[in-house]
Every structure is written in structure tokens, then in C-alpha cells.
């Protein structure tokens, strides 16, 4: 059996950043397992710009952003196995993987960092009635066909869902000469970043239809059109508003699901809201020595934030690997969302956390002039008004380590009120 101090599952931005930080913190033997043929993850197909503004202070394309990390990994002695799929994590931190050179691999790891990213919600999960024609695909699949394989997946396109990938693809397909008829969004607000609405839809003259959804697909072989309809406040189609839109492609950008099959198999506790692991401020999960970061933990808006979070996990894993008392019981303060807050990550904070803790969260709805508060019992740790809060934009607040140490309550509450 192979032995490593740290095995990182996934060689996208999260995995690379976590591995690099762990290396920097002095971890010896590190192995990254990546299922694709190269490091870089989904960034490799994101050839648009907009990456790195926060982390590098400049605007990079996805492959450029990835390359900076790939280069750094190459400059270290971090080992990488590409084309390798992890199939299981067994008790005792044993990672089982398969590839076409080693066959089956069993690797013992002192610590494991989960960085498998997320996948797109497929059609089947949406319940759109109608035919099973070709031409119905997720925006990410379409992106791969255009940017990696170099083929047009469609010419007359309707996009369902205003997630960022959908918005990016609206622009991409238009630039490639396709006609993007519209983007339909079930909710009364967009799920994507404002900058993408402006740059990808407004600038391209593509209409965004809010409170609108696809209720039927037509065509037996290739898609021939969709029926769209407005929806009421319960998101049910309103009779009489149906409209047929001719198109050969329906692209779905209706949400991302953290890819946590392995996490579940490993017996890690999952947050039902984020669909990612429940973690502490070091991004350690409920299983000692197993950490998680990036989109497998919570879906981020920007890769820059993924990098930040992965540094945290890399550092946490390094601390764990070096600590002498690995399984000592620590006391946790739990962090709870309330009011307009949908979830908070991390869900737990160590009582003796020795640095400030960033609490990331998303809100449930669009709020104007909402007040964000962080409290513990009667003690107010943070309170600030924000002109606009939206589910599509991740927020964070910082809780000071001094404050954490002084808390007598076992719970911190993050709340948004209007």
C-alpha cells in the first residue's frame, strides 16, 4: 500500500491551492489525484476572462488562472496522478483509486483533502415534461463541446436558468454565431453575478425572462422547440401564458451540486442545505483528518474565493498532520443561519480558534438594506447594513478570535433582517 502524509482528491483550483499551502506549511509527502488528463479542473474549459481579480489583482482566463497554480505545483515535489478516479475512501483514511497504469490503487493518507468540485443539475432533476430529443444539455457540457472539442452544440438556443455558466455560455454561443433566443429564470431574480448579466446578456441583446420556465420540450430526434410559461409566486406555471419558442438547443444552468458521493461513502456528515460536508474553521469535516474545500464544500461565485478557502484547508490539514494529539476532543461552537440567511460555512468553530474566522453565507432572497448581524446569546459580534443582498452573491463576515474565546454560549447565529 502506498503511503502519503496528504492525499488531495481533485486537481482543480481547490485541490492545487490546498496542496500548495500544505506544502508551504511543511507537509512532506503530498499526492494529488485527478480524474482528467491534466490538472486545472473545470477552469480548463472556462476560456473567458474574469478570473483572478481578487487573488492576483488582474483579469485572467480560466486556463491562465489554472496554469499559475499548475506551474507552482510543478515547482514543488508534490506528486500528481492524472487520469485517476478515486472510487472509495475506506475507514482508516485509505483512498481507493483506479487508472490505466496502476490498475487499482490503495493509498493510506494521514490526512485527506476533498476537492472534487461540483456538477451541474441535470434535466432529470428538473421534471421538465416532454420529449427526449437530443439538444438538451447542461451549459457546462455545451461549454466543453465549444471550447475543448471545437464543435457547435447548437444554433438556436434557449437557456434555462441564469446561473453564471449559462450567462457565460449565452455570450459564448452568440460570439460563435449562434442565436440565443432568451434566458429563462424561474425565480424573480437572477442566480448569477450582476457583472455577468450586464456583460453577457445586456451587451449581447439577449432578453432575460424572470419568473419564467420551460414547461415542455418538443421534437423526437433533435429538439425542435420548447414551451415556456410565466410562473406564479409558488413557481407553478400560470395557465394562458404558454408560448412556443423554436430552438434546436436547450441549455440548462439551473444550479450546481457539490460532488459528494465519496464524502458520503467516507461517513462524513453532510449539511442538507449546502450539500457539502459540515466543517470547522480549518475545513475539517466530522471525520478527523478529512478536510474539504472549494465547490465540493459549498458552491462559490468566484474561483478566487475557492483558492482562499483551499489555503485555509491546506493549512488546517498541515496542522493536523503535524499535531501529536490527532484525535483529541475539542469543544466546538456551532454556527447557525437564521432569518434571511440560508446557510453558513463553517458550521462549527473550535473554542480555542487562534485566528479570526471568516463566516461565509448566502441569503434566501433579494434584500434591500438588510442588516447582517452575528450574535451569541445577547452579545453582538457584528452588525452592519448592506444596500443589497442577493442569493447569487456569497457574503462573508469576520469574527474576531478574541471574541470567540470570550464567548460563554455554545452557539453563534448569523442573521439577516430587513
Amino acid at each position: 500500500m502506498l503511503k502519503y502524509d496528504l492525499v488531495v482528491i481533485g486537481g482543480g483550483p481547490a485541490g492545487m491551492a490546498a496542496a500548495l499551502k500544505a506544502k508551504e506549511c511543511g507537509v512532506n509527502k503530498i499526492l494529488i489525484l485527478e480524474r482528467a488528463a491534466t490538472l486545472g479542473g473545470i477552469l480548463e474549459q472556462c476560456i473567458h476572462t474574469g478570473f483572478g481579480l481578487h487573488h492576483f489583482g488582474e483579469e485572467l482566463s480560466g486556463p491562465e488562472y489554472a496554469y499559475r497554480f499548475i506551474k507552482q505545483v510543478e515547482e514543488t515535489d508534490i506528486e500528481v496522478k492524472v487520469d485517476t478516479m478515486v472510487t472509495d475512501i475506506l475507514t482508516g483514511n485509505i483512498v481507493v483509486a483506479t487508472n490505466n497504469t496502476d490498475g487499482m490503487l490503495e493509498i493510506h493518507a494521514t490526512a485527506i483533502i476533498l476537492a472534487m468540485g461540483c456538477r451541474e443539475r441535470p434535466r432529470g432533476a428538473l421534471d421538465i415534461p416532454g420529449s427526449r430529443a437530443s439538444g438538451i444539455m447542461t451549459a457546462g457540457t455545451a461549454q466543453k463541446y465549444v471550447n475543448i472539442d471545437g464543435y457547435m452544440p447548437g444554433k438556436k438556443i434557449v437557456i434555462l436558468g441564469s446561473g453564471d455558466i449559462g450567462l457565460i455560455m449565452a455570450r459564448r454561443m452568440t460570439l460563435e454565431g449562434a442565436k440565443v433566443e432568451m434566458v429563462c429564470e424561474l425565480m424573480p431574480y437572477s442566480g448569477g453575478l450582476t457583472r455577468n448579466i450586464v456583460q453577457c446578456l445586456d451587451d449581447m441583446g439577449i432578453p432575460l425572462k424572470l419568473s419564467c420556465t420551460v414547461i415542455k420540450t418538443h421534437g423526437i430526434e433533435r429538439l425542435e422547440g420548447v414551451t415556456i410559461a410565466n410562473v406564479d409566486e409558488n413557481r407553478r406555471p400560470i395557465p394562458g401564458t404558454e408560448q412556443f419558442v423554436e430552438c434546436d438547443t436547450l441549455m440548462l444552468s439551473v444550479g450546481l451540486i457539490p460532488e459528494n458521493e465519496l464524502t458520503r461513502n467516507a461517513g462524513v456528515m453532510i449539511d442538507p442545505i449546502t450539500n457539502g460536508a459540515i466543517v470547522d474553521e480549518n475545513r475539517q469535516t466530522s471525520r478527523p483528518g478529512i478536510f474539504a474545500c472549494g465547490n465540493v464544500l459549498q458552491v462559490h461565485d468566484l474561483v478566487d474565493y475557492v483558492t482562499q478557502e483551499s489555503y485555509t484547508a491546506g493549512e488546517g490539514a498541515a496542522k493536523y498532520i503535524k499535531s501529536k494529539s490527532k484525535n483529541k476532543r475539542t469543544k466546538y461552537i456551532s454556527v447557525k443561519p437564521e432569518g434571511g440567511v440560508r446557510y453558513v460555512v463553517p458550521q462549527n468553530i473550535n473554542c480555542d480558534a487562534d485566528c479570526d474566522v471568516k463566516l461565509y453565507f448566502r441569503v434566501k432572497d433579494v434584500y434591500k438594506n438588510g442588516r447582517i448581524t452575528v450574535t451569541s446569546g445577547d452579545k453582538v459580534l457584528y452588525s452592519k447594513k448592506k444596500p443589497k443582498l442577493a442569493p447569487g452573491e456569497m457574503e462573508y463576515v469576520i469574527v474576531k478570535s478574541d471574541d470567540i474565546k470570550e464567548l460563554d454560549k455554545k452557539e453563534i447565529v448569523v442573521k439577516v433582517e430587513v
Binding site: R35, D83, M85, T87, V96, T98, N99, N100, T101, D102, G103, M104, E106, R119, E120, P122, R123, G124, A125, D127, P129, G130, S131, R132, A133, S134, G135, M137, T138, G140, T141, K144, Y145, V146, D149, G150, Y151, M152, P153, G154, K155, E176, G177, I215, K216, T217, I220, E221, R222, P237, E261
Partner: protein
Amino acid sequence: MQYDVAVIGAGVCGAMITRELSKLDLKVVMLEKLSDVSMGTSKANSAIVHAGFDAEVGSLKAKLNVQGASLMAYYCNKLNVPYKNIGSLVVAYSWDDMQTLDILFERGFNNGVPNMQIISQEKLRAMEPYISEEAIGALWAPTAGIVSPYELAIAATENAVVNGARVKRNSGVFDIEYKDDLFFLSTASGVIKAKYIINCAGVFADQIAKMIGDTSFKIIPRKGEYYLLDKTEATMVNHVLFKCPSSMGKGILITPTAHGNVLMGPTAIDLDFDSKLDVDTTIEGLDTVKREIRKVIPQLTTRNAITSFAGLRAHIEGDHSDFVIGPSKENEKFINVAGIESPGLTAAPAIARYVGQIFREIAPEYEKKKDFIATRPAPVRVNELSPEERRKLVEKDKRYGRIICRCEGITEGEIIDAIKAPCGARDVDGVKRRTRAGMGRCQSGFCGSKVVEILSRELGVPMNQITKHGNRSKILYEKTK
């Protein structure tokens, strides 16, 4: 091309009959309108083996159902098709229902269904812990089971091809002429001559029969809609669960599938005669399934649905219709195998034998082959192997180490096997039915483009000629600018 027999339709009956005929020393061709075998009713049904208490006593349905149920294990073993003998329960909710169970028991007994029992609420609960509180008893039929229907058709086809049968896909029959003791079939891929025809055309069997002037039956496409749930729901149901039957069929059922998913449905809506291609799912249909299953297992939801789909049953017009199997009155060399609605899948092995007998009576001139190969070898299923077996396999062929479909754990080697098999996969859905790549919870979001790539490479055609399910169902257009 001249053949002894042309089998029209490559569904599960067509495939099993073609295999049966390939035991004889003759030239048989199976003609399929669509791009692959098992593309119609055989791919979209309840995928269960009925015990045989539904069909009317004395009917052909009853006889072939009970025979089929007892033959299924044998055939699935020979052809290496997933099959599990899990038994079925008809669940009763009222006094009326309990009386219906007695009627079903009597009927089943007369049909020859073995070992049925009417069981108590307690026993039912022990067998199905999540069953509704309102369920008060059930009819237990241990001979029922589950089978992968399209794999049965695919396996039978492969086996028939190995034994010399020809299969022509994309070869819909649009006209038949009979002269000089020969049928001339005009098909989408040219004229085919045959001495005998077996009409297994599913919902289109009436249209095929009409081509020789046989208008003795009419087929109504009866739509059924289903949900397929994630394997995470597998613990919710252990047996095939029926509600008490209605006049439109056996009602909504919930069942594990042979691959460990949960299937629920079907609805039953009669369509027009000219809607035989309509397998659209509908809001109403899917809502009906959701509503009905709650009565059986209240905790089961469609939150973890992988997909929904619809299929058509070939229902012969009339209330108490039976299978129509036998030589046509218009021409005894034309054998109809029509109206094969439920329990058609169960009956398929028995139908194949029965049609084989009929054929030998009208065509005694053909001898049995001495070198018939009865077994279809098991396809490699990497995720069913032990780590040691897996290691050895990858050493032999490294393509079995490269996972393409992460949800189902399907490797490149298995996909290539499916493409290279006799009558192998030619499109993305064909790969999916043969290997399960794309059957999982991400619905081919991850592997879809990789499967297109592999098909393109193995078939030696550009990626934009690969289709989802044949004809114009292409996936990609021209190259980008």
C-alpha cells in the same frame, strides 16, 4: 437480399424470436425501423416479471405469462442479463381491495401461479417497512421478479447474430408485396425478399399486418409515464409493489430495478392511433405518478429522481383483448405477434418458444442446427469485480482502468466492448443501454461528451456525426469558427 424469414421489429419479442429461429438451419433477418434494437416499448416499461395472476383464465396471455415467469431465470442466465427473483405484493387498502386479492389469488391459482399467499398487515410491514400505515394486507407472489428489459433484447440479438442471424437497423418496412411464394418488403434500406414474415412491430404491428391486407386487429398506443429514482432510494422498497388493479391496467407500481434503482409508474392514457411516436412525458402524467406512489410509500418522493420517461403499450382495441399470436388469415406464411402489452416482457421467452413451434408447423422443411450456441457471454462489468480481478484485468487491458462514467463506474474498456459487440452500439443511447454509462444521477453530464468522443474514434467518424439515438438526433453541428 433473399432470406427465409424476416422478423419485423427488434423489440424484446422480435429479438427473442430471431434467436429462437437462429436455432434452425435458415437465413433470418431482423428489420428495425429505428437506429437500434429495443428502442420502443421494450426500453420503456415496468421491467418486471409478472407472476401471472392478472390475465384472464384460459387466455394466451395467462398461459405465456406463467410459462415466461418460470423461463425467465433460465434465459437470463444463458444470456447473462440482470434478473432478480424478488417476488411481488399486491397491496390492499380496504375491504373491497381484500376481496380483489381473493379474486386475484383464484385467478392466479387457475393460471398455474405457484406458492401465492395472502398475507397480513404485520407480515407485509415486515417485508416492506416503509409501506403506508393504511395498507391492510397483500397478495404475495414469490415467482415475480425484475429484469433489465432492453438488455434482454440486446443479449438475445447478440446471441442470434452469433448464430448467423442478420440485423438491419434503420430499416423500417413501408410496403409488403406477395408474389411467387415470396414476400417483397420495401424498407428504408432497400427491398428484402423473404419466404416468411414474423410481425413483431409493437405498436405498429397493425400497420404492418395491413400491408398484406390483414385488418383483423387495431392497436391503441397506451401511454405510461414513469419516474426513475436514484440508487440512494433503494432501501425504500424490497419487492414489486402493486396497488389493487383497475380496469385500465395494474395501476401504479413501485419496484426496485435489476440495477438497484427504484422505478415508479406507469400511468395509463390511451392515445390516438396516429400518436404512436408520442413518448413525451406530461405534467399531468408525472403528477399522477407522484400522487399515487404517496399512497403506497408515503416517504418516497421524486426529490432524488434521476429521470422520467414514457413508454407505449401495444393495446389491442377492445376490453378483454388477448395477445394476437399466430399465422394471419390473409397469408399463413405471415405470423402476427401483436398486442404484446403487459405481461409481454415476462412472456417474451415463452412467446419465442411458442412462435418457434408455430413456425416449425408451417415450415417443417428447416432442420435444427447442430452447432447452435445457446449462451451469450457475460459482458465485462468492472465494478462487479473484486479488487484483485480488477487489477488483473487492467494489467491485460488498461482501458478497463479508465473510468468514463463516474456515477455508474463504467470504464472505457466496457464502452468499447459495447461498440464492438455483435450488433453493437452506434449512438450515445445505445452505449447507455449496453453499459449503463450515462444512467446515473448526473445523467451523462460528465461522460456524455466522452462517450461521443469514444464512439467517434471507434467508428471512425467525426464527432458531429454521432447521434443520441440515431437519425437526426445529432448532438453537435459544424466545427466552431
